[in-house]
Each structure stands twice: as C-alpha cells, then as structure tokens.
C-alpha cells in the first residue's frame, strides 16, 4: 500500500493510513527522500495517527528517515502517536531518540515553522 505524500508549500506531509509492511516502509523512505530533493523541501511531517501499533522495524525506519532527511538539511516531525502506542513503544525500548515528535499535524507544522524561524 502506497503512502500518499502531499506537498504543502515548502513542507511535505506523508500520512500513513494503515499498518505498513516492511516493504511499504522502505518504499516510503525512498519516495520521501526523492521528493525532499525534488521539491527542495524544508521540512517533512509523517502522520501516524491511524496506526494502533508501531513495531521495532517501523520505529527504526522512521528514525532512519529522519536522520537521512536531516542530512539533506531538512527537519522531520513524527505526529499523531496515540497514547497507548506511545507507552507500548517506550516499554519496548523504542523511544525514537533524536526524532522530533508532535501531537498532531497542526503542532507539527508549528514546530517546523519555528525551526525555520530560528535558523533564518
């Protein structure tokens, strides 16, 4: 299942709508990176609101995406992690270290705007 990636100004928004297979996740990583280069995006938001489970592979892939996009000079925010999912992740030791997180899409955008203001 492909993850839709929307372009909104200088930001990209990827909304994950259902549990993804490992292949889908790798596909997402490739596509996002291509798009960031293509559109010269300043920030990426990955929305996981509809996920009710996050396994170690998904967490690691999201972290890798963040790191890779950072190497391109853009920021990534993971938004919409559900409370139950968050606690389950922490108990499994999946804490998304070094990755910015926000409550929802709106917060994520605000976070990116602020980062842009601080760096300019």
């Amino acid at each position: 299942m492909e993850v839709p990636i929307l372009k909104q100004g200088r930001y990209l928004i990827a909304t994950i709508q259902a549990a993804l297979s490992d292949e889908d996740l790798q596909q997402l990583r490739r596509t996002l990176l291509e798009r960031v280069i293509q559109f010269r995006s300043r920030g990426v938001i990955v929305d996981v609101t509809s996920l009710d489970v996050m396994d170690s592979f998904a967490t690691r892939t999201l972290r890798d995406i963040t790191y890779m996009i950072r190497l391109r000079g853009a920021d990534t925010v993971i938004v919409g992690i559900q409370p139950e999912v968050a606690f389950a992740m922490v108990q499994l030791g999946l804490t998304l270290e070094g990755v910015a997180t926000a409550l929802d899409l709106e917060e994520g955008l605000a976070h990116l705007e602020q980062r842009a203001r601080n760096s300019s």
């Binding site: 606690f87 409550l103 917060e107």
Partner: protein
C-alpha cells in the same frame, strides 16, 4: 454447608416441627417485652455496641427481636437479610465491629434458649424437641445477620478504595497547554500505570505542550516505579509534550541514579514553582508584575 445461602427457601419442615416452631413463636411473642429487655441489658453488660447510646441499643434490639421472631415464624430470611443490611449501613460508619454484631446475635440466641429452658424445664422430651426446631433456625439467623454485616462492610471498603483511586490522580491544566500532575502518597505499580494513562490521555485532550509532574508528596519509590516514571516521561515526549519533574526527594534521586537512568532525557527542577516558571519559559510566557507592566506600557 446448609447455611451457605441464607436466601434460599428452606426445605419445608415436617408438620410436627412446624407446630413446635409455631408454639415457640407464640411463646416469644408473648414474652416480647421481658425477653427484649433481658437481651438489651445483657448487651450492655457484655459491653457490646459501646458506640451507641442505651436508647439506640434498645430501639435496634426491638427491631432485631421482631425481625428475628418473624424469620422464625415464616421460615423466610429475605426480610431479615434486608434489615441486617440496613442495620449494617447505619452502624458501620459509627465504628461497630464485626465481633459486636456477631456477639449480640449470639446473645439473643442464648437469651431465648434460656427462656425455653425455663418454660419447659418440667418436660425434657418436649424441651429437646423444641430445641431441635429452634437451634437450626436460630443458627441460620445468626449466620444471615453476620454475613450481611460483613458483606456490607466489604462493600463500603471497596467503595472507599475506588474513591481514593479516583481522587489520587488529578491532571490539572494551569495555563493554555500546560498541565500539572501532582502526585501524593505511595505509588504502587497499579497506580503508576493509571497515572500514565491519565497523563497521556490528558496531554491529548488538553493539547498540552508542557507537563509538570510534581512528586514532592512522594516519600520514596522503588526501582520499578521509578522506571515507570521515566517511561512516562519518554511516552509523553512521543506525544510531543515536554515533561518537567519537580520535587524529587533525596531518596528518589538516589533510586533514579541507582537504576542508571539517562538524566539527559529527564528534565528536572527543584520545586514546583521553579518547574512552572521553566514551563512558562518553554511556552513563551513572561510573567511581569502589574506595576512594572504599567510603567513599561
């Protein structure tokens, strides 16, 4: 156990023992005043129900007596059960103990048995038969009242535990997007889990960006709970909220260091005031005294 379920309709007794019970009940009704008084005074003598006044004891004794005789007469225990539940509801808040309730019912049984001895002392066979009819019923009544009392007490305890659990974990919003979670008392793993759930849910519903967890009121916590606290902090971060922990006691600080938590992940401030001040800074608030604000404007 024949007495296990007092609510059950008893087996229809043989006609002979029914007759005896009827005679017995007639006797108890006839000597109601005297027996009741005897009972009430033996309660006082045994120093039971010390939490109640003499008049109250007498009033309760009267209704217990009537219900008792009623149960003997009809062989059904529903009315007695309801009454004993009501009685328990009334006397539990006044500190009446289980042994007192059991004590008074057993006293009544003895007082009535004595009066039967006195009445039938000339006729041993009859006395025996009367006691055969009386004893099982009396024991069952005692059982019903005692069980009713204990059940009521357990219900009260459960209710109170529930109330304490609900009261113990308020998640308070003090400013737009700033939550405070004051924790007081002992945290066991169950309460810790509940705290986390409430906090994470609170972050979502209040759209909080900063949370101050104040544990000034927690004297000590074990490694499991401390670990849980750290996990809560990390889970909150995943929801996009920053957590500031305030009021760590030296013992808890020691525990946290001992379990080897990465303090880089934990934002801690000495006291609640400092925590709120830092939270306001994070949210971009600046508190200016009114006088200074006026001169600046």
């Amino acid at each position: 156990m024949a007495n296990k379920k007092p609510a059950d309709v008893p087996q229809p007794p043989s006609t002979q023992s029914t007759e005896l019970l009827r005679e017995l009940v007639a006797h108890l009704r006839e000597h109601r005043t005297q027996l009741r008084e005897e009972w009430a005074s033996s309660i006082t003598e045994a120093q039971l129900l010390t939490a109640m006044t003499k008049d109250e004891i007498f009033a309760e004794a009267t209704s217990v007596y009537d219900n008792y005789v009623e149960a003997l007469a009809t062989g059904t225990f529903e009315a007695l059960q309801t009454y004993s539940r009501n009685l328990s509801e009334r006397i539990i808040p006044r500190g009446v103990e289980t042994h007192e309730v059991v004590g008074i019912v057993l006293l009544l049984r003895d007082v009535l048995a004595r009066s039967l001895f006195a009445k039938y002392q000339g006729d041993f066979t009859k006395l025996n038969r009367i006691l055969d009819a009386y004893e099982p019923a009396a024991n069952r009544i005692a059982n019903t009242v005692a069980v009713g009392f204990v059940q009521e007490r357990e219900r009260v305890i459960r209710q109170q535990q529930e109330a304490i659990r609900e009261l113990s974990t308020p998640v308070l919003q003090v400013r737009e997007r700033l939550l405070i979670l004051p924790i007081i008392g002992v945290i066991d793993p169950q309460r810790a889990r509940q705290l986390t759930e409430q906090l994470l849910r609170g972050i979502r519903t209040n759209r909080a960006k900063v949370v101050v967890i104040d544990i000034t009121g927690v004297a000590a916590m074990d490694a499991t709970v401390a670990n849980h606290l750290v996990q809560t902090v990390e889970a909150s971060r995943l929801l996009g909220a920053t957590v500031i922990v305030t009021g760590l006691s030296p013992e808890i600080a020691q525990t946290i260091v001992n379990i080897g938590v990465d303090l880089g992940k934990m934002n801690t401030v000495g006291d609640l005031q400092g925590g709120i001040e830092q939270a306001e800074r994070l949210l971009g608030y600046k508190v200016i005294p009114v006088s200074e604000g006026a001169t600046a404007a």
